[in-house]
């Protein structure tokens, strides 16, 4: 049981097309729910699509397939992004996206692993995903399981102390079957990250903690794919991809706007946004 995903997508244009669809799903589900996190779902879309569709082995018909690669959305508020990808990948019908944040829906406001198979662990309280990713990666190694673990964090999220505890762990145990991503969109809730609580220099911090650090433009598919390849080929240390992104990416009037962190598009904004994504 458990066939590996049929045909990974390596063509950049194909991946961009998927990312477009994913962005449309995100906007649709948020507007329908009239609630949820717009900015951070859109900023991480390209990286997440690249990870899922070009790299990961998984079987939507068998979510617990043993050799599946694992994905943890540590910045759990970007749940719409994960749901959109899972729907696109065939975990559940697209119609389910209409039930985001509704009572008794598998699509909880933040990812819930007991409600939706395919979610590896529940997230939503920031700063905890990387530790779980470490644990999974260590467990897989113990079993000689070749699967890899991916974990996406927010840049604001890296203010949590636990992230740096986990950063030490990953380097200490040479967890090289792990690839972490920081969605470096420069914004959190109360304002720009550097104004609220500075985290710079991010690259140097991770490097000092013993990580292989790769900087990319998080909306450039080619750069993302190269970085994911490099991560896979790096042995003896964990890799972190610091993805420079724009919060709200793809919709001009959401881009770089701190107000759209936790606000869903209005119907009018939705219609304009869809047009922009189609033309973009």
């Amino acid at each position: 049981m458990g066939a590996v995903t049929k045909g990974k997508i390596t063509d950049i244009h194909e991946l961009q097309k998927v990312a477009k669809k994913v962005r449309l799903h995100i906007l649709h589900m948020l507007t329908k729910a009239n609630s949820g996190h717009t900015g951070g779902s859109l900023s991480a879309a390209d990286v997440a699509v690249a990870i899922y569709f070009s790299k990961m082995n998984f079987d939507p018909k068998d979510p617990f397939y043993k050799k599946r690669d694992r994905f943890i959305l540590s910045k759990g508020h970007a749940a719409p992004l994960l749901y959109a990808i899972m729907a696109e990948a065939g975990y559940f019908p697209l119609e389910v996206l209409d039930h985001l944040r509704k009572i008794e829906s598998p699509l909880q406001g933040h990812p819930c692993c007991t409600s939706l198979p395919g979610i590896e662990v529940s997230t939503g309280s920031l700063g905890q995903g990387l530790s779980v990713a470490n644990g999974m990666a260590l467990g897989l190694k113990l079993d000689n399981n070749p699967a890899r673990v991916y974990c996406i964090m927010g840049d604001g999220e890296t203010q949590e102390g636990q992230i740096w505890e986990a950063a030490m762990t990953a380097a200490h145990y040479k967890i090289d079957n792990l690839c972490a991503v920081v969605d470096n969109n420069g914004l959190q809730i109360d304002g720009p990250v550097q104004k609220v609580m500075g985290i710079a220099p991010l690259h140097d911090k991770w490097a000092a903690f013993g990580w292989h650090v790769i900087d990319v433009d998080g909306h450039n598919m080619e750069q993302i794919l190269n970085a994911l390849d490099k991560a896979e080929n790096t042995k003896g240390k964990p890799t972190v991809i610091i993805a420079k992104t724009t919060k709200g990416r793809g919709v001009s009037f959401f881009e770089g706007k701190v107000e759209y962190h936790g606000v869903a598009p209005s119907q009018e904004e939705y219609e304009k946004a869809v047009k922009e994504i189609h033309n973009g």
Binding site: G76, R101, K102, E104, L107, H110, C112, G124, E157, V196
Partner: protein, 325 residues
């Protein structure tokens, strides 16, 4: 401008005021306190727009510390500020305030008995759409178990203002749990909060409902429906959950054969547990706890969620009738 709104608010009867979220009352009161007292300092963990400490932040930027998404560091820093004579108010969502930073609260706030005010918003399931990860249903249990801690859950915006002013003057650790959603005004105009003193709306002969937070309004509704069926139900606002108003509890337990507790919190460890613990040792009577029945919450509209978890006035009325059989 501030004064004018205050005056016009004073003239309006509570019963005529539009529902207001307790977190909004907190933001307003904190601002006023900041004007009156220079020893008040405020900390937040990247949620100041939601906890409403942003008003204080704007008015007194030099006394506001945004700690970023780092709740544990926020609590430790608050303790340090308290140790230099400041009166720190540290705010974030109730789950993160009490859960993420519990050991920090235990050691540097409670064990060290520092003068830190933990004012958390987004308590309970009325957080709504964000779902279980953001709904604090265990925070009262977590805070109540700590020595030196005072635990307060205001029922409406007016009581919140009174609570915030009171705890600013009180010396010692305090946890105040506030909500996200707008709530109706339930307390009378001349009410003033006092730590450890419950407000009795009426004492019932058949049943007394000991409620806290948003469940006070629900209890009043349920009591009114029950009265039509000839059941005499009393309602008590037990806004201080620790220390409990034992005298009022005893009075309620002596006058009715049934005590109901009602809270937007797990039935484990919160108001229901506190009341049961006290009554079983001092005046055993049947107690029925209304709350979240040892489950996590879920996403949804807050009114829908209250019904889903059996916390509506109709549910309360049914529970009481069943228990009286």
């Amino acid at each position: 401008m501030g004064e004018k709104t205050q005056n016009s608010e004073l003239k309006t009867q509570n019963s005529e005021k539009k529902p207001k979220a307790t977190r909004d009352a907190y933001g307003d009161t904190l601002m006023e306190l900041g004007q009156k007292r220079s020893d008040i300092v405020v900390l937040d963990a990247d949620l100041s727009c939601s906890t409403k400490t942003n008003k204080f932040a704007k008015a007194f930027p030099e006394r506001f510390f945004n700690m970023g998404i780092a709740e544990q560091d926020m609590i430790g820093t608050a303790a340090g500020l308290a140790l230099t004579g400041k009166v720190p108010f540290a705010s974030t969502f109730a789950v993160f305030e009490t859960g993420r930073a519990w050991d920090q609260i235990r050691l540097t706030v409670c064990y060290s008995n520092t003068n830190v005010k933990l004012i958390a918003t987004h308590g309970g399931i009325t957080v709504g759409e964000d779902g279980a990860s953001h709904q604090a249903l265990e925070d009262i249990a977590l805070m109540r178990a700590l020595p030196n801690m005072t635990v307060i859950v205001p029922a409406d915006a007016a009581e919140t203002a009174s609570v915030i002013n009171t705890v600013a003057d009180y010396r010692g650790p305090v946890y105040v749990r506030l909500g996200r959603a707008r709530v109706p005004y339930v307390l009378p105009d001349d009410y003033n909060f006092e730590i450890g003193r419950a407000f009795t709306f009426n004492i019932g002969k058949d049943v007394n409902i000991i409620a806290a937070g948003i469940m006070v309004a629900t209890a009043k509704k349920a009591a009114a429906i029950l009265a039509k069926d000839g059941i005499d139900a009393g309602v008590i606002n037990m806004s201080t959950i620790k220390p409990l108003d034992e005298e009022t509890l005893l009075r309620a337990a002596r006058s009715s054969k049934l005590i109901i507790t009602a809270e937007e919190h797990s039935i484990i460890g919160g108001l229901g547990s506190a009341v049961s613990e006290f009554l079983s040792e001092n005046h055993p009577v049947p107690v029925k706890r209304i709350g979240i029945n040892d489950t996590f919450g879920c996403s949804g509209d807050s009114e829908e969620l209250l019904k889903f978890h059996g916390l509506s006035a109709e549910d309360m009325m049914k529970t009481i009738k069943e228990a009286l059989k």
